[in-house]
């Protein structure tokens, strides 16, 4: 009997964004999965060739709606490398605070979506309820819920006063208490375990060979966290990358759960050590020239920015390699041999961010 081909996506209840997979099935088991992407391409990289390099920071922020701040941070730090300037320490610390806040909200959003994929509606609501409190802090400190708009070439646009810092710390402590309770449910509830333990196995060697990034590779026992390069303030903070050994969907969930707790800790450290002083250095009159490559860690993994400039006010070439793109090959590998009913959960555990991926 010949194999059946079942189309998965581009519109599917577990997918917030369109990605298509052709699943070749032998009975209920996946033999092969063929991904196809390109449904939400917007041509944002080409805009870099037309816009002023300082304005482009705002376009870079709009690459994705979840990791928005980290995109603008990566773009700005890449341009700062080209210009030979460095953001002041206070700006570096505040960038770290906002990057970690956006990591927490992204992981909480993912936890909610994952719970929804298992059919655990009340856990989904609870995750998003906690996420809302984080988004409120983001709005209070930057003015926007999704698009922060605080990063610019040479530093940041908005400062935090001592009062706000104190208030944010207090509120984060309260949110962390609520979050710990949520994490306990994820760790102990049988529904979560039944759907994730032993599902979508990816061994350490395969993850390494296929070039997985972020929580996917860290859940397979390989320590690879771009934050260890020490960009922004990460070099001065005390932390270790989070690693799990199992390599299944549960391990990927556990990595994200522990990363949220770690992010709370990193923010507290940053706010404790927040240096005083300037928040930006002027980039006026400077023009980028040469090539630069910048890597940083998004909630979903490592993202690379390549820029090339020839002394004009706009870049000659801008290229982004996003984590979802790197994680598609491991995903296809994980899907081989899995049950059809587990496919949505496996697809979700790489945390696909398709609008990042297609820019």
């Amino acid at each position: 009997m010949s194999n059946t081909i079942v189309p998965f996506g581009p519109q599917h209840p577990v997918l917030p964004e369109p990605i298509h997979l052709d699943l070749e099935l032998d009975d209920e088991r996946v033999v092969q999965a063929l991904p196809s992407i390109g449904y939400v391409h917007r041509g944002l990289e080409l805009l870099a060739e037309r816009h002023d390099f300082t304005e482009m920071a705002q376009v870079a922020e709009r690459i994705c709606g979840i990791c928005s701040f980290i995109h603008s941070q990566g773009y700005c730090q890449g341009i700062e490398q080209l210009l030979g300037i460095e953001a002041p320490p206070r700006a570096a610390y505040l960038r770290t605070v906002w990057a970690e806040l956006s990591r927490i909200q992204s992981h909480l959003l993912w936890l909610g979506l994952a719970a929804d994929a298992f059919g655990f509606e009340s856990l989904f609501m609870q995750s998003w309820r906690i996420r809302e409190a984080i988004v409120d802090i983001i709005e209070e400190t930057t003015g926007g819920r999704v698009i922060f708009g605080t990063c610019k070439v040479g530093g940041i646009r908005k400062d935090l006063d001592a009062d706000t810092v104190q208030r944010v710390r207090q509120r984060l402590r309260d949110i962390e208490t609520g979050y710990d309770e949520l994490a306990t449910i994820f760790r102990r509830d049988p529904t979560v375990k039944q759907r994730t333990v032993g599902v979508g196995l990816l061994s350490g060697e395969d993850a390494y060979a296929l070039g997985a990034v972020g929580p996917v590779i860290r859940a397979s026992g390989i320590v690879r966290d771009t934050r260890k390069l020490g960009y922004a303030a990460y070099g001065e903070l005390d932390w270790e990358p989070i690693v799990e050994q199992a390599g299944d969907c549960y391990a990927r969930c556990e990595v994200r759960l522990r990363e949220i707790s770690q992010s709370f800790d990193l923010i507290a450290q940053c706010l404790d050590r927040l240096p005083s002083g300037e928040i930006e250095v002027s980039a006026k009159g400077k023009r980028p020239k040469g090539e630069a490559m910048f890597r940083l860690e998004q909630p979903r993994g490592e993202v690379c920015y390549y820029m090339q400039a020839n002394g004009q006010k706009n870049l000659e070439r801008f290229r982004v390699r996003t984590p979802t793109f790197a994680n598609i090959a491991p995903l296809v590998h994980m899907l081989k041999g899995s049950e059809l009913a587990d496919v949505p959960v496996i697809v979700l555990t790489i945390d696909p961010c398709v609008s990042c991926n297609e820019r």
């Binding site: 816009h51 304005e55 705002q58 376009v59 009340s122 856990l123 609870q126 309820r129 809302e132 709005e139 209070e140 400190t141 930057t142 003015g143 926007g144 698009i147 708009g149 646009r157 908005k158 309770e181 306990t184 449910i185 102990r188 509830d189 049988p190």
Partner: protein, 118 residues
């Protein structure tokens, strides 16, 4: 007792008031920094058109000759470039979100050519 944590949480949530608001009737007070909409006061404007040049979406159209200034709130992305660029301080950020627009509309301002006699 693996189901115990979620049952405690669900029971507590059932006893409490809902976490959500009845939106149109009950509205949240915006934060001081909330980007609501771009507000404009024409009194001090000298129509230098810096704001219109800096606007990435061309939501602002200003004319020195006609002494007019107009904004399309459906195009505005609240990037605050115009506010940073305004020398006279007549463009400000309001924390009230612009109400939903039922039709495309451009909000225009025009300054009188002759100031009224005092």
């Amino acid at each position: 007792m693996s189901w115990f944590p979620i049952s405690t949480l669900v029971t507590r949530n059932a006893m409490q008031r809902p976490a959500t608001r009845l939106y149109p009737f009950e509205q949240r007070t915006p934060y001081a920094r909330t980007r609501g909409h771009v507000a404009f006061a024409i009194d001090n404007c000298d129509f230098c058109t810096v704001c219109a040049v800096k606007c990435p979406t061309r939501a602002i159209v200003a004319s020195k000759k006609d002494r007019t200034w107009a904004i399309d709130h459906s195009l505005c992305i609240l990037c605050e470039n115009c506010i940073e660029g305004c020398r006279e301080g007549c463009i400000t950020l309001s924390d009230k979100p612009w109400p939903p627009m039922l039709a495309k509309d451009v909000l225009g301002f025009r300054q009188a050519f002759e100031s009224p006699a005092v």
